[in-house]
């Protein structure tokens, strides 16, 4: 069994309370930021910004609240596997749905505007 990494016996890594408070504060601030960003017209980037912030918040929760930072490589690998296959599910679905107009896209329209971001008005 060569693949188990730095786990400590017993209680595992005990994070200081101050860290938890900091993460909590960061999550609250980011929530406010994501609401604020939604009211600013960023054109195609509203969606990307919202997802980036959500992704960052999720990473904070995973990394600190869920202790992945202190877990074995195997745990990290499991998480990465999940992300990878989620990306396959979402990404490969788009192959069909964004190429419906692949060769017949009327000129002057931007195919990338279909990628989820609202078309600029």
């Amino acid at each position: 069994m060569s693949d188990h990494a730095s786990h400590s016996s017993g209680a595992g890594h005990v994070s200081p309370i101050s860290l938890y408070i900091t993460i909590f504060a960061a999550l609250m601030v980011l929530t406010a930021v994501t609401v604020g960003a939604a009211f600013v017209d960023l054109g195609q980037f509203n969606f990307s910004v919202a997802m980036l912030i959500a992704g960052f918040k999720a990473s904070l929760v995973v990394w600190y609240f869920m202790h992945v930072k202190y877990q074995s490589h195997l745990t990290k690998l499991t998480l990465a596997t999940g992300m990878f296959f989620l990306a396959i599910l979402l990404g490969m679905m788009l192959i069909d749905y964004t190429s419906k107009d692949f060769t017949a896209m009327p000129k002057g329209t931007d195919p990338t505007s279909e990628m989820g971001a609202p078309a600029a008005h």
Partner: protein
């Protein structure tokens, strides 16, 4: 049953007296705990793909019917949604504190933090009930009685002139495609709420176990597993909030 051979393999301290929570087919508490952690993460992996299927449907229809999604999203209350996000993040904090209490073998702290987490979870569900009731009132529940009334305006988007938005969508189309949005809204938030109810149920059991003193710093796996699950439910909401409430708020 010889565990000495296996011990040599693990190469770390082995409790000489077997812990009462050690199951017969494991050699050490560490092996047992690691198995549980990996098992939980593999379970969360399936949960990621479970919600992933919903996100696919959401993504396709959001691309197709962006305006309807934006319009329907504006009818959701940002106040309740934002409040719930804060409540759920707060409950993640209290959950992390509960696990910390178990790690440091503070029974009372663990129990209290767990109870606080459950209360916050219940608050979230209560707010969800208020929101759902509002949807019923406005006939925003998909099905035969679904009505998308043009005069309904979300308070936050009141500034936008109505005719501006009506330029691109007829009432018939809104009726049709906002319904799709609400189908997804109810499926997504409904499944999320179901996960929370299950989570609260699990926590009830674990709080009782903690109260009875079943855990110590060697063995608190159930608390940790419940924590992982609860944080995952929180993460799902972290994505659902912008996807459902914040489709397009700036017009």
């Amino acid at each position: 049953m010889s565990s000495t051979v296996a011990n040599a393999d693990h190469g770390h301290a082995h409790a000489h007296a077997h812990h009462p929570a050690l199951q017969h087919h494991f050699d050490t508490m560490a092996q047992q705990k690691e198995a549980a952690v990996i098992g939980m993460w593999v379970f969360l992996l399936t949960e990621i793909l479970f919600f992933g299927g919903l996100f696919v449907a959401y993504m396709i229809y959001r691309i197709w019917y962006f305006d309807a999604f934006a319009e329907a999203s504006r009818s959701l209350s940002l106040f309740w949604g934002g409040l719930n996000t804060a409540v759920l993040i707060g409950s993640s904090l209290t959950m992390a504190m509960a696990v910390r209490g178990a790690q440091t073998n503070k029974r009372k702290a663990t129990v209290n933090w767990l109870i606080l987490t459950m209360i916050l979870g219940a608050v979230f569900l209560g707010v969800k009930v208020i929101e759902y009731a509002d949807k019923f009132e406005h006939h925003h529940v998909p099905g035969p009685s679904f009505v998308w009334a043009a005069e309904h305006e979300a308070p936050a988007a009141g500034a936008a002139p109505a005719e501006h938005r009506q330029l691109s969508l007829t009432p018939e189309q809104l009726q049709q495609t906002t319904q799709l949005y609400f189908s997804l809204y109810f499926t997504m938030t409904g499944l999320h709420a179901l996960h929370m109810i299950i989570g609260i149920g699990i926590m009830l059991v674990i709080t009782w176990m903690a109260h009875k003193g079943r855990f110590d710093e060697q063995y608190f796996t159930p608390v940790e597993m419940a924590g992982l699950y609860w944080h995952f439910v929180d993460i799902v909401w972290i994505f659902l909030f912008p996807l459902l409430y914040l489709v397009e708020r700036h017009t």
